[in-house]
Subunit: 393 residues, 2 copies
């Protein structure tokens, strides 16, 4: 842990606290971790007074990184691009565990009971499951999808209720569900022929609908996990049909799909549009022209606003869509490299990484005023501890 005294010079009025200060006790409900992608570090922040508490070093290659939290919000588990799984103590700012669990990984999830950490890997493929306390490897699931024993890259790993996980096979064109409810040897359910090149997936906040983005097709795959027997259906088929797609500069993230007002808002691949899909019928109900190719379309926790960021060369801009009439109600220009946004748990503020300015911006979501600027080194993903309490992350 390195406290940010150097960085303090960058921003006036910053308060720095640490676990060694006069009040040793600190709650964890307002904490967050901000990935600094270039330096393999992360900032621990708190959102009540909007300050940086500590910097954590030694997290490896964070060019693509995601974070989940222990159920008590004490520990962050950081999934790095290099296959590293790091465990950070949010109260001491210390790296308390780290394993190189694969050659290349794309994300992970924590079981609903907080006991299991699952990681999806590109190399060698498959999914590894670790003990959340010790980071001991306790289950390996090779993603072998054909008779020759070829193993697939895995993507779109999410937790499901009942100590289960779902993920998909990029090469294998399958979705698998792992059920650890009866112990550490999972029951595996395999759904085949889901579509060409599943590249990311999400599960809805109720753990019911698993939806897979397909890079090789103009549509999505959908599994209703509440309907037995499980089957894959195509949805939004041909949603770009008859139009010339734009070049794709950045894969849209499905995890950021917003559900609000009976609709999902989702970034269209290779288009300057946000799509709105009915949450019951999975049919398109609206599409909104936006400033660039959307990367994340994220709902404020109450669902009233959808905040959208964009791929280069439009990644200096944020647009806000009102869910009621799908009109753009605000365009902000935080600066170059707006990579990620995270709402405070009840949505009164949104935190934003402005990578190329080395800044975190905090906006009020009621009047859109800029409430705080914090220094950060090439910040990317922002993850608040309230994620500990959410399904499907």
């Amino acid at each position: 842990m390195k406290t940010l005294f150097a960085a303090a010079a960058l921003g006036a009025g910053l308060l720095f606290a640490s676990a060694a200060s006069s009040d040793d006790l600190r709650a964890t409900g307002d904490l967050g971790l901000i990935i600094e992608r270039a330096t393999g570090t992360a900032l621990i922040v708190e959102s009540t007074d909007r300050t940086v508490l500590a910097q954590v070093e030694g997290l490896g290659n964070l060019s693509h990184a995601s974070v989940v939290y222990s159920r008590d919000e004490r520990y962050a588990y950081v999934f790095g691009r290099d296959g590293g799984l790091s465990k950070v103590d949010m109260l001491t700012g210390k790296l308390v565990g780290r394993v190189m669990q694969a050659g290349n990984s794309i994300g992970g999830a924590i079981s609903d009971d907080g006991k299991l950490i699952a990681v999806a890997n590109y190399k060698p493929g498959g999914v590894n499951v670790f003990d959340a306390d010790t980071l001991e490897l306790i289950s390996e699931v090779p993603a072998i999808y054909d008779e020759e024993g070829n193993q697939s890259k895995t993507i779109g790993l999410v937790d499901l209720p009942g100590r289960r996980f779902a993920f998909s096979l990029w090469d294998g064109e399958q979705t698998w569900i792992l059920d650890y409810s009866k112990g550490l040897k999972p029951e595996v359910t395999k759904l085949t022929d889901i579509g060409v090149f599943p590249y990311d997936a999400l599960v809805t906040g109720d753990g019911r609908h698993y939806i897979v983005g397909l890079f090789g097709e103009d549509g999505l795959a959908h599994v209703d996990l509440w309907k037995e027997p499980l089957k894959v259906e195509r949805i939004m088929d041909g949603y770009g049909k008859g139009e010339e797609p734009l070049p794709v500069y950045k894969m849209p993230h499905l995890e950021g799909w917003a559900k609000a007002n009976g609709m999902f808002a989702l970034p269209a691949i290779g288009r300057h549009e946000v799509l709105f899909m009915d949450e019951r019928e999975f049919t398109e109900v609206d599409r909104v022209a936006v400033h660039g190719q959307p990367v994340f379309a994220m709902a404020r926790p109450d669902g009233r606003q959808i905040w959208v960021n964009f791929a280069p060369p439009h990644n200096d801009t944020i647009q806000v869509i009102d869910i009621m009439d799908r009109k753009i109600i605000k365009t902000l220009k935080p600066g170059p490299g707006v990579l990620h946004m995270e709402f405070t748990p009840r949505g009164e503020e949104v935190w934003m990484s402005v990578r190329d300015k080395n800044e975190i911006h905090v906006y009020d979501t009621t009047d859109f005023s800029l409430k705080e600027v914090l220094p950060a080194e090439k910040p990317s993903g922002i993850f608040f501890t309230s994620r500990a309490h959410q399904l499907g992350l």
Copy 2:
């Protein structure tokens, strides 16, 4: 704070920890407060290892009590029946503030930014707003509803996004919205003639729909807070028409309304039924006959299951309804006086107060096994800290 050494004798295998133990640091994401109504005390519990950490004394009359949390999950604010507002430090187990703010109160709420605590009062009526840090009274809103200056009891107080609150006037038959976004002098919006004897209200988890139970009428009042100008509409009108209602032993709580699978589940007043209402049309889509007169109908966080408890003489029983086909899939008999349930944030367990056995039961929601029994003195409401991150509580 009194640690529970006496109570330890009641339950084998309990672990007792406190802030004074070897590891002084503790996260707050898995903590909760359980009201002990007869003794004016509350237990601080943690749901990871399922233990009691401390007992807090001096909370006054808790015959009707509710709890909200500071945004960092450090402090619990307890609203007692006697008009007392108590502030409890969840990390030290100490009562750190208490004000007698009215003669008789029915509940409260915390603003989305965590700065304001609002309390709804029966005597003298109206709403008081306190500074969350100091418990200083900073705004008084008398609920005067006629030209004679009569003041109403207030009920159904909830927080709304943008530093706002909504509540209703039992005597005045009105709903008011207080907007503190511009400072401590609120803008007040008044909706009149909402119906006879509003006795409780809820706002949906997205902060959009404010729904008021009417004790004097066979229907509900509804305000869509996203549609300007605001107006009150009647919904579920005459849902008990043509049938003889049963005597009402206990007011059904509206806060426990469950939203799942596109429906709200709600306890029917004076009937042995749970009603299911379409979340878009606000029309009845199903009703399920249950074991008694329901008090709370609560959705597991993923919405797949609805857990129902009952008024006397059926309050020894719990029933679980599957949201997909609205069939009762489980009947449990925890024992006499099942007063309240609270799900762990991701729903893998449910905690239950069994008052007349002086026990807390913890059930697994996947296989319905009883995982833990903890001793408690006449327990009633259970409130986990994850509520800090939710709207409309």
